[in-house]
Amino acid sequence: MTDSPLYEVRNISKSYGSVIALDNVSLQVHAGEVLGLVGDNGAGKSTLVKALSGAHLPDSGEILLDGVPRRWKSPHDALESGIETLYQDSSLASHLSVASNVFLGREVLMPGILGRLGFLAQKKMDVEAHADLERVGIAVPASNRPVAQLSGGQRQAVAIGRAVSWARKVIILDEPTNHLGARQAKEVLQVIRAAKAKGLGVIFISHTLPHILEVTDRVVVLRLGQVVQDAPTSSFTVDTLLGTITGLIVAPPPPGA
């Protein structure tokens, strides 16, 4: 793990009308680190994910990638910079095929004049999408099947596979083990370890605390829009983590806050 953080937010806040969703939130993830992000419903996890992925612009605060301040105007900007996000509730277009989803927004065009006219190299994408998903190592459905025909687990596999195969710096996984059976959830944790080994910064959001304790290096606890704890995973048990999330255990303010 290097000293300078790979991806960092400093003092970001976001309000929706009179509702303060994020209040002066700071966090960092290093290359080759898995950061767990936990919090009760309404703690601000999804808003934070949207700020990190470029889907929402925070009202104030800074976002830094490799120490350089960045301002995401759209998810496109963050994707271009190597930040992949798996949103909760599957960010797939269910009428499109598996391969079309894997390559959505990054379509491969045909060579020559046809490509210049915008025509797709669908066969190439079908083959490559299959290889990408196989490399990730989770249930691989046929490339040309519409996502709507897949099981919940297969859909999640496609979404994770897409995020992992495109991520160059940071991968944000919002509840990736939702809708999955025990065996598939284990596979997802394995995918997270592989992403860490590749040197990616991983932000892993989950309600399943044993998963958080099993795979993360550090845990940030959000409560009512604020970071209430930021500590190495080894300092938590399921009970103390749960206590911090619910507010039964009042943690000392994280250093630097």
């Binding site: 889907a55 277009a93 009428h95 959505l104 379509e107 915008g118 797709l120 299959h130 249930a139 099947r145």
Partner: protein, 349 residues
């Protein structure tokens, strides 16, 4: 080349369909191009032609088919426009009014050019450009209302329907605008079997737009936005720009439809196109395009619009009161949509 990925893909215990492990048959490969719904539509169309021909043998002639295709041309163009819009999850109610408005504006332009002594060919070419430009203009206004003013497409295009339709009447005082290039009307005489020059242009446009819908990135983004707008945005697609392009395309095709009608009537009539948005929507719905977005094929729209044009002419030729057309179309829409509902139910169960 690995052409069949299914055979070596490890399926999980959750995958419920063992049937897709065998290599895809020829029909399975053709399925995306010519799905079940399209086969049914083709049978309905052929059945109608046979029925009308039996009831009145006059129906089965190049003349009648030529007329059907002349009726079909402008409806096909706005139905193609509607196909893109509806697949993207929107709706364009302004296609009919835009057809009429761009026809009128092109008629004014061509009247002036003919008065100035320009050759007919050049006048018609410039008139076509004028009609297209007016159509694109309406389309861009639609996209501004949707993207910037955050109106839902139904309301945005209802507004431009009213504006374009009203302006056509105000400008012309309700009278058709003629005195254009004298040889214009000759263009609409069928010469290639039942096809006229404008008809050939429509066929070419249908083929090109069909390829773009199904084989290009533009088409892919259209489906993606209709299927899941958030997924499209999260994948880095510029959704607003794509929506702008789709409504501009819709306006462009509606403008061309206005020019098509001008060539047929040798004048731009302000009320032409009024109500045609319902024909366009009927054509795409019969053709299997889902109003909820993300679903539909160009071949369905072509068959849907051909069925509409055939019903209209056929009922007249067999001597049925023409207003029965509305009833027949209504039945076709209900049948097509319930068929889709039944099929999608069968797929998910």
């Amino acid at each position: 080349m690995p052409t069949n990925q299914e055979t070596h893909s490890p399926e999980t215990e959750h995958s419920g369909s063992p049937g897709h492990k065998s290599p895809p048959s020829v029909t399975a490969r053709l399925a995306p191009i010519f799905s079940n719904q399209q086969t049914i539509l083709l049978l309905v169309l052929v059945g109608m032609v046979i029925l009308f021909s039996v009831l009145n043998p006059v129906f089965f002639s190049t003349d009648v088919f030529g007329n059907i295709l002349l009726d079909w041309g402008p409806i096909a163009l706005i139905a193609v426009a509607e196909t893109f819009v509806v697949i993207s999850g929107g709706i364009d109610l302004s296609v009919g009014a835009t057809l009429g408005f761009s026809g009128v504006m092109a008629a004014y332009a061509m009247q002036a050019m003919t008065g100035a002594g320009l050759p007919d060919a050049l006048t018609i070419l410039l008139g076509t450009l004028a009609a297209s430009a007016v159509g694109i203009g309406v389309g861009l206004i639609n996209s501004l209302l949707i993207n910037r003013a955050h109106l839902v497409p139904f309301i945005a295009t209802l507004a431009t329907l009213g504006a374009a339709g009203g302006m056509s009447i105000v400008l012309t005082g309700g009278a058709p605008i003629g005195n254009g290039p004298p040889s214009a009307i000759a263009l609409s005489v069928p010469w290639l079997g039942p096809l006229s020059w404008p008809g050939i242009v429509v066929v070419v446009i249908v083929v090109i737009t069909g390829l773009y819908l199904h084989k290009s990135r533009f088409g892919r983004y259209t489906y993606a936005i209709g299927s899941n707008p958030f997924a499209a945005l999260a994948a880095g697609i510029n959704v607003k720009r794509q929506i702008t392009k789709i409504y501009a395309l819709s306006g462009f095709l509606s403008g061309l439809a206005g020019m098509f009608l001008y060539l047929r009537l040798a004048s731009g009539a302000p009320t032409s196109g009024a109500g045609n948005e319902l024909d366009a929507i009927a054509a795409v719905v019969i053709g299997g395009v889902a109003l909820s977005g993300g679903v539909g094929r160009m071949s369905g729209t072509v068959l849907g619009s051909l069925i509409l044009a055939t019903v209209t002419s056929g009922l007249i030729i067999i001597g049925v009161e023409p207003n029965w057309k509305q009833v027949v179309v209504a039945i076709l829409i209900a049948a097509a949509v319930s068929l889709q509902a039944l099929r999608s139910k069968g797929r998910t169960s």
